[in-house]
Symmetry: C2
Subunit: 427 residues, 2 copies
């Protein structure tokens, strides 16, 4: 595997020395040996250190030359830190205050030292605890509308748009992970797959045998591989959201590239829906989380409707994009036609988003990487119940996406499925 | 403008000295001063020299650092020679015998020395003369099916597909010409536009005022800018075809990049249709070219139907593409579903092709660069008649593409329009 000269895997002490030599160490105050440094990476890929001094702290993320979850047998380029930094910088310009600030970047160490987000927690954990996040829908839709619209050819000149494609064109190893783990493996008998057996054996077989579903997910894969619509985060699940009641940050854009917008929107919707179905495993008594469930589905609706609204607003206020040149639509009829065209664009994006959401849900239940929302449910039959319902919705979303004309249809079907007996193999 | 070190504009004598110093000069035999060298470039962009000796000859194409048609005020990167050579090399592998062989390439001179195609002529000229080319439909569809399918993610691994995107990612200046001259300027009051006035004044205004049309062409532009489906030739009109009755070669792929497949297919269809409508200006008596007209429309039909057939055949015989992984479709149901999916893919590609064909027709009549098929008609009313009919078909193809379910509908409407009185402003 390729390691740039100067790369070495950091530990607390080597990181301490490194930070101590940087001007930013003054922000920590106190002597370097008074700082506390802990490694807390709970993701699948990287080292994450929290560094705290008397006056503040940093988070430091270092890419490893392999997948942390698996080990050296699965190499992965360090360049992902380069792309993460490129995406974070761009996102900070486009969506100020919604990503962690970068304080230091070391290309040869694949190291990003950034703002320590405290007392933020990973949204997934908050949702498992049943915490309502009243700002989330507003913030995530501001983030998505800004980063997706503003990096598309709807907003950019051809030159800038193509430059941005070039910036992220090399992040192919990360794309390949998505291509394999999301769009392919869950639909085959791949060694990496696992599911809550025996309960979901029937579901898994049904999905492997549904040829229309496999066509639909492959059509999405084709789109993922060949649709540089905008700079997408590429991994925008609720584990990439750190927040408090009053502040939301989107982290970890190491999968960023110029891809289909619906992949980000779908990721958000998918992970909210997975958590919705998981609530049966988190409530203390049946129905105790009904209000929370209602909030989640409200949030699903708001995510789409606010995103749509903000995306349209940006487009309406923008005359710089080369794709629909403003000069062609300056008269009254032109404005009206372009308004229709924008709505049609958003309708197509909605369909894409549902398809990608479905793919994201299925892979979290049948593929290699599962969600803690579901994984932390100890009773396997209850977990399988939540997973089975998730799969039912995802399966229908994928093959009948055209039937879901509105986000309220999605939430209504989710509610129905959540009230149904699950279809479990072992029961 | 950027000129690499060592670049100089060649003339007959400097080219003679350059060739004489190369091993390939032995193929010409005879002393260098016995060779005849003429500059014959009739395109808009480059110098083209024909070099003949006693035993053979070469064609040498040199890119100028500006648009030849306009002059130094319109700079254009020499790198287009690099991309032309990259495309020709790839096309030669994928569609052997259908492109000129490259004998020598000089990157710093932006010079490609290639096979001299004799007695081939530019297809456009042959069609103006009424020559039937019985091999054309077979050859162009073999070329398109091979170059488009085999460079797509339907055939390639993700790695190879993305490498190919990277190879052509820098050819943005050439794409920009297409974006401006095909998808934008004909729909605005651009200084570059011209048309057969006053006859087409009404048509030109109608097109500038049709907001749905402008949305449709902008949707195509969006697709052109952000759909790296395959390595497309990028300028596949009948002026990029050199042929005899028995041999067909596709030349001049300097606009090549990873773009939408329908752009190439549409270019072929558009240029056949433009020539079809132009026949009123080439026949000696009314109806004298009716058989030729019938051949052209037969060819339009064959271009689509043979392309579709060959593309499907390649797909059916291919298990290497990452987009629809073979492992997902190995059982009977999978094979049947994938067969349906392939047909749906080709249906979408047909719609794309008609849209791009329409855009190509409109720009040749209202934009900066016209076709000799129409331009050589000296009687402006007759020329305008042919152009008016071309615009009528193109306009309908663009806004009603969904209504054209089959290529036979296209040719039937073309036939109807060709029998109608044209709608001319001056008459």
């Amino acid at each position: 595997m390729h390691k740039p000269p100067g790369y070495r895997i950091l530990d607390a002490e080597s990181l301490r020395n490194l930070i101590a030599a940087l001007p930013l160490s003054k922000q920590l105050w106190g002597k370097p040996d008074s700082w506390t440094i802990e490694e807390v990476g709970d993701g699948n890929l990287n080292l994450v250190f929290l560094i705290r001094g008397a006056e503040g702290g940093f988070a430091a993320k270092q890419a490893l030359p392999y997948v942390r979850l698996v080990g050296e047998s699965w190499p992965l380029p360090l360049s992902r830190a380069h792309y993460e930094r490129a995406a974070l910088s761009r996102q900070a310009e486009l969506a100020p205050g919604l990503v962690p600030a970068i304080h230091h970047y070391d290309e040869s160490l694949a190291l990003i030292v950034m703002e320590l987000l405290e007392p933020h927690i990973i949204m997934r954990h908050g949702m498992i605890a049943g915490t309502v996040y009243p700002r989330f829908a507003e913030d995530i839709t501001t983030f998505m509308a800004a980063t997706l619209f503003d990096t598309s050819s709807l907003a950019l000149s051809a030159e800038d748009f193509k430059s941005l494609i070039a910036v992220f064109a090399g992040n192919t190893a990360m794309c390949k992970i998505t291509e394999n783990l999301i769009f392919t493996e869950p639909y085959t008998e791949a060694a990496n797959n696992r599911w809550t057996s025996p309960w979901l054996d029937g579901h898994a077989a049904l999905i492997r045998e549904d040829a229309d579903l496999k066509c639909a997910v492959s059509r999405l894969k084709l789109k993922f591989m060949g649709s540089p619509e905008a700079m997408i985060h590429g991994d925008l699940h609720t584990g990439s959201v750190m927040l408090t009641i009053g502040d939301t940050r989107l982290i970890d854009p190491e999968f960023a590239f110029m891809g289909p917008m619906g992949f980000d929107v779908g990721a958000v919707i998918a992970n909210l829906l997975l958590n919705y179905f998981s609530q049966i495993g988190h409530e203390e008594a049946a129905g105790a989380r009904d209000d929370y469930r209602a909030w989640i589905l409200d949030t699903v609706e708001s995510v789409w409707s606010l995103f749509r609204c903000k995306f349209l607003q940006r487009w309406e206020g923008c005359e710089t994009g080369d794709a629909y040149p403003a000069a062609l639509f300056s008269d009254t009829l032109g404005k009206a036609a372009l308004a229709r065209e924008r709505r049609a664009f958003l309708d197509r994006l909605f369909q894409d988003s549902l398809g990608f959401a479905a793919a994201k849900m299925i892979r979290r239940i049948l593929g290699i990487a599962h969600n803690i929302d579901l994984e932390c449910i100890e009773n396997t039959e209850i977990r399988a119940t939540a997973e089975s319902r998730s799969l039912m919705l995802a399966h229908d979303l994928m093959v009948n996406a055209n039937g879901y004309s509105d986000i309220k249809v999605v939430t209504a079907v989710a509610r129905q499925i959540n009230a149904m007996d699950p279809c479990l193999s072992g029961s």
